[in-house]
């Protein structure tokens, strides 16, 4: 009898621990966990000075009042970043044809500022139809600010040992108050647009 009680108690406690450790069996990986954490508890972005593809300095804070979509890339990336860029291209097309124009800003931010200068960023931008007022390509000016930004967004960048990086790719949505409110799949164009419309 005691054994049966103990078994039930351990099963309950064990299931509770696994439940708590996976946000209710929803997050088995760190990537899923960061998305749930951000959706449930939006977090303010730290101040970051950026330099765009023309060498112009600006701060993400300058974009308060707009919905900002942020992607983290490095220009030599052979796969994920290109897929992200294609998604941004499609999002830009939808936005420019709708009432969302001037209310949404897209940013491709390089996490490899040592390599990605204005020239590299400009060349990278040309692969996706070039930059315009609604989509800027930029690199952080300060390494510490970059790390703080990546940390808040939950982006982990690992050198892959052959000159490139492995990183988690996603679309980061920042509301008009400068809070990171949502992290979406890198190819979730329709869902991103739906979320943007909800925010505006």
């Amino acid at each position: 009898m005691r054994s049966a009680f103990a078994i039930v108690a351990v099963l309950l406690l064990g299931a509770a621990a696994l439940w708590a450790g996976t946000d209710g069996f929803r997050a088995f990986t760190a990537e899923e966990a960061r998305r749930i954490a951000v959706a449930e508890h939006p977090r303010p972005l730290p101040p970051v000075m950026l330099e765009d593809q023309q060498g112009r300095a600006f701060n993400l804070r300058d974009y308060r009042g707009k919905v900002v979509l942020l992607e983290f890339v490095y220009t030599r990336c052979p796969d994920l970043c290109a897929a992200l860029g294609t998604s941004f291209e499609r999002i830009r097309e939808h936005i420019s044809d709708s009432k969302l124009q001037n209310r949404v800003a897209l940013f491709s931010v390089s996490f490899d500022p040592g390599h990605d200068g204005p020239d590299e960023l400009a060349a990278y931008a040309d692969r996706f139809g070039g930059p315009d007022a609604g989509w800027r390509f930029a690199r952080p000016r300060d390494e510490r600010e970059l790390q703080a930004l990546l940390e808040v967004c939950g982006v982990v960048v690992k050198p892959d040992g052959i000159g490139g990086y492995q990183h988690n790719a996603a679309i980061h949505m920042i509301d008009s108050n400068g809070n990171l409110v949502r992290i979406l799949d890198y190819d979730a164009v329709d869902e991103t647009l739906a979320q943007v419309r909800r925010l505006i």
Partner: protein, 237 residues
Amino acid sequence: MRWMKRWHKSDALSEAEPGRALVIAAGGVLFAVAAMPPVAAWLEATLVRHALLQVPMFVLSGVIIGGLIAGPVSAGPRSVGTMAVPLLLIAIFTLSFWMLPRWLDAARTDALTDLAKAVSLSLLGGVPLRLGWPRLYPVTKAFICANVVSMLAVLGWLYLLFPTRLCVNYLLSEQRILGQAMLMIAGMLGIFGAGVALYGAGGRRLVAIRGQEDAVRPENPEGVATLNAWVGRARPF
């Protein structure tokens, strides 16, 4: 084969009284080595070493330290015998928790999580395993072993074929190596298990029983006792 017989005699550790203190000290040393910052950093630097070397090291340290409390099965308190299954469940839940890519990831970057991992794998993984395992019925043990092998194979397959990274702190290539390593270990354990079942002490004993069923009828307690000793039956609960 003697090594297979020894594997069956899973309570050998606690019966080795003279060297007990030394063995338990070895458990402490094993824990300390696996948790020591430079060694831990090296072990956690790749996914394979983290999951297949450091995690087992902590569990093994607990298994060894558990010998301090366990004592010989024959002389152990009855309450421990009745608690064999709950103890095993504690170990299974603890191991399952740290198998989650999310928490393996977190342990890599967060010192407090890493400490929780070390302590829980040892105290809630290894120690209960050490206390509960010798008190389990052989059939239960075999069932668990078979499940461990199949789970390792399934996890290995998953890690090998999953197209994106499950752990953000490790490269995709490491994930694939972990998958291959798990599949290899599952294969080796499977062959080992089959060897034990077919040709080891257990298999031979079953063959020996065949044709002697009359000897182990209830009215022949001596025969029953012999059978129990042969198949390594646990103490009655």
